[in-house]
Symmetry: C2
Subunit: 479 residues, 2 copies
């Protein structure tokens, strides 16, 4: 393999420069292209196909919980964005403004949605009259715009793709239950489909969403030990309802405010897939999300019967429900092997004249490079087994990596030393004050990732100020 | 049924006021909501679910022809939009301009994409180097913005959802072939899935897309006799390639310009479904596209066993691959029947205690109101048969309606009289000059819909000026 690798332009080693490795993989695996619009990315076929698979699987899970899809306008009138005080403060500094439509100056400028709470509230205000109209459990798949200064493919860009769910409920309890339900949908999706383990918890007040009463998050750990916020679910209580006047008549004929939630997950997750599973040969895609699961590579394809047999194998795999391609390009096999590795296709099937004569083919698994020889008629069953094993092993490896990078800090010196020397999460007690969060960030660049649902009592006092502790917090440097 | 209909707020009769009927249906069937952003619509669950089904089915057909999905930025720098002269002239007057990002004035203003030819060209310029990089057959599902003055739900709005395919080819022949291939995909989709027959043809130079060498179109006829352009496919030749410098090295190592196409189909088609199939009770959805195909309505649902049996029937229909819902709301059955009709759900299944005791249920077909009684265990097979019949009959009825509204005009008096008195298509010969098109439009408000692929020789001379005729044209008043 060392020989073949040279065939594909080398990518930077992860250990040498993780950030450069990431950029190289994104480019060489042809996931992203750069556009003429600064900070806006082009999702190329290999990148967009991952997003399509995420959409399909997540959308199915949403609908099982009663979610209905809608589509709201992409523009928000300035006066609407300003209706909820905390919300506008959080978003106004980073939105793009449309000031002209056609040949005329607009009377009121419109922002391109950075998120759509205000539009949904404006809509719900008219849609919801009675308890019979509740709950509303709506979602949209769309792009949003945030005028970021620094951008990185998938992780931060001026326009990105996401889904945003927006719900309205009769009671506070029901809203809280939905907020947590969707967080769990996200967590299960990450673990079961993307093979990415996550920590579930609540954000501190400092880190919560602009306008939310509570924000819940799933936090994943990248290969380099940095955290990535991978999905958030917000409980708004009745704050937006009061700002927008969203009221319903309850069963006793009394006017009540609704309770609302929102939850979102974005193309950031593709960044997580890359940084959790990738290696020095490129991308490694979990079989459950891989657009192509098996890459059939004929060896000496000019020899009679080789290509035909490759096509036949491809059809049999496809009939067995696998996503397959045949690489019949005029490149040499070594190049094709490297390309399959770069693109993270979970298995490749190598077959040359001698293999075909012997009625067999070689299956190479992307993550472990394990090679097995299998009879051609057994390929579908064998590959399915390998993909299942690979999916399971990838999650296990990611779990082990995360477990090996969670540290405990009992005092502030230990905290600072760990933050400086050991990339990963730091578990430490916290008094609940923003002053300590600010100080920790200033001293270490680590931020509070979440107050995990699974609390532990590490000590009685805040790791930073020494005052009585209220919560155990996961801290970490984050993307 | 006359009794029940009153339960749902009346909609205007089609014959009294077709435009008002349309608006009523769109609102009462809960397809669309109006937003605070003038001219932008909210796609509500019932409306968006139709679009999701259109997307799923069309996307599958695209991919069978080798299309790959991508996603381009929603912004186009002004200088990029201006690169192709005809294109910018066509679109610049109706775009929305972003002039501020975050807290700063932008150095160059960005328009929100009205269509993405320029972005794809800018992208292809770097992506395409060699004949090995061709063809590129990319598509994106997104929304686009055109600052229209007058808007109508689905038919014309400032933001709408669509797909836009953009391809690049080595030869002019291949580009032409792809242009026609996609037009045929559209036409087959309309007929097979939406039960909407279409006329296929080429647009006149006056009506073609800004920057295209040739525009092909599918034209449908609405119930009121007005035409709706339902999908277009453009051949750009190498015009954009020359403007953007998209060149490749051919097999002989010579630099060549690529040949390009684009093709789009939008949420307009939902307007076509409404106006081709709807009736005075509301929407009638073709079974193949209906988000809910069967509405199970329990009668006297408070009686023991009724709801349970309705749920059991729903599961059996669902297991048979049908899209089903049970209406177990606390409204009365008559109301539910009217709602099912308003929403255009293809069949309803009525079942009360006596039906259940007799082991049967009543199936009512939406388009014909035909009622049949069927044994409960036979419901899945019976309903499938009814849906198949309905799909076929809807296409046949629409075909008959179109055929009955195609007129021939041999001279200009006849043309004007037909245009004034008989809503529908007028077939007439044309000399090829824009003067005649302009005159016909001024005199009758009819425009040239297309030069159909199936040409007929009606006479030797242009219906307008009497000079030698070049083409037979379908004329009509259009949405």
């Amino acid at each position: 393999m060392a020989e073949d690798k040279k065939l594909v332009e080398a990518i930077t080693s992860m250990d040498v420069d993780f950030a450069q490795w990431y950029t190289d993989v994104v480019k060489k695996a042809e996931l992203i292209g750069y556009s003429s619009v600064k900070g806006c990315m082009i999702y190329k076929p290999a990148g967009y196909a991952i997003w399509e698979n995420i959409q399909r699987e997540l959308d199915r899970r949403f609908k099982e919980t009663g979610v209905q899809n809608v589509y709201m306008p992409m523009f928000i009138p300035e006066s609407l964005l300003e209706r909820e005080k905390d919300h506008v403060e959080g978003f106004a500094p980073e939105v793009a403004w449309v000031t002209r439509g056609g040949l005329n100056e607009l009377q009121e400028r419109l922002c391109v949605r950075p998120t759509s709470e205000t539009l949904f509230c404006d809509f719900y205000k008219d849609e919801i009259q009675s308890y019979r109209d509740l709950p509303k459990v709506y979602n949209q798949w769309c792009s949003v715009v945030r005028w970021e200064k620094e951008t990185r493919p998938f992780l931060r860009s001026r326009e990105f793709l996401w889904q945003e769910g927006h719900t309205a409920h009769a009671t506070a309890e029901e809203a809280e239950q939905r907020t947590l339900q969707m967080l769990n949908v996200y967590a299960q999706f990450c673990e079961e489909v993307l093979a990415i383990p996550v920590i579930k918890g609540k954000k501190t007040d400092k880190e919560k969403f602009a306008g939310a009463e509570a924000t819940y998050t799933i936090e994943a750990l990248m290969h380099d030990g940095k955290a990535l916020q991978s999905g958030t679910s917000h409980n708004f209580g009745d704050g937006f309802a009061r700002a927008f006047g969203i009221q319903y008549t309850d069963r006793d004929n009394k006017l009540q405010y609704v309770h609302q939630t929102s939850w979102g997950l974005s193309t950031r997750l593709i960044g997580a897939i890359i940084m959790v599973h990738g290696d020095d040969s490129g991308l490694v895609l979990p079989p459950a999300i891989a657009p192509v699961q098996a890459d059939v590579i004929p060896v000496m394809q000019h020899k009679a019967g080789v290509l035909d047999k490759a096509m036949e194998v491809s059809r049999s795999l496809s009939d067995a429900g696998l996503r397959v391609k045949v690489d019949d390009s005029d490149k040499n096999p070594g190049w094709k092997f490297s390309e399959q590795e770069m693109r993270g296709i979970p298995v490749r099937v190598e077959m040359g004249p001698r293999d075909i004569e012997a009625g067999q083919a070689i299956i190479v698994r992307r993550d472990t490079r394990e090679k097995v020889t299998a009879a051609i008629e057994e390929l579908p069953a064998k590959i399915k087994q390998i993909l299942d094993d690979m999916q399971r092993d990838m999650l296990e490896r990611a779990r082990a990596h995360m477990a090996a990078h969670i540290y405990v800090a009992s005092d502030y010196e230990e905290f600072k030393q760990t933050a400086a020397e050991k990339p990963g999460f730091i578990k430490a007690m916290w008094c609940g004050s923003q002053e300590c969060e600010d100080k920790i960030k200033e001293d270490t660049t680590a931020t509070s990732r979440c107050m995990p649902f699974e609390q532990e009592h590490l000590s009685d006092v805040c790791v930073c100020c020494g005052k009585p502790a209220k919560k155990m917090v996961y801290w970490g440097k984050a993307y």
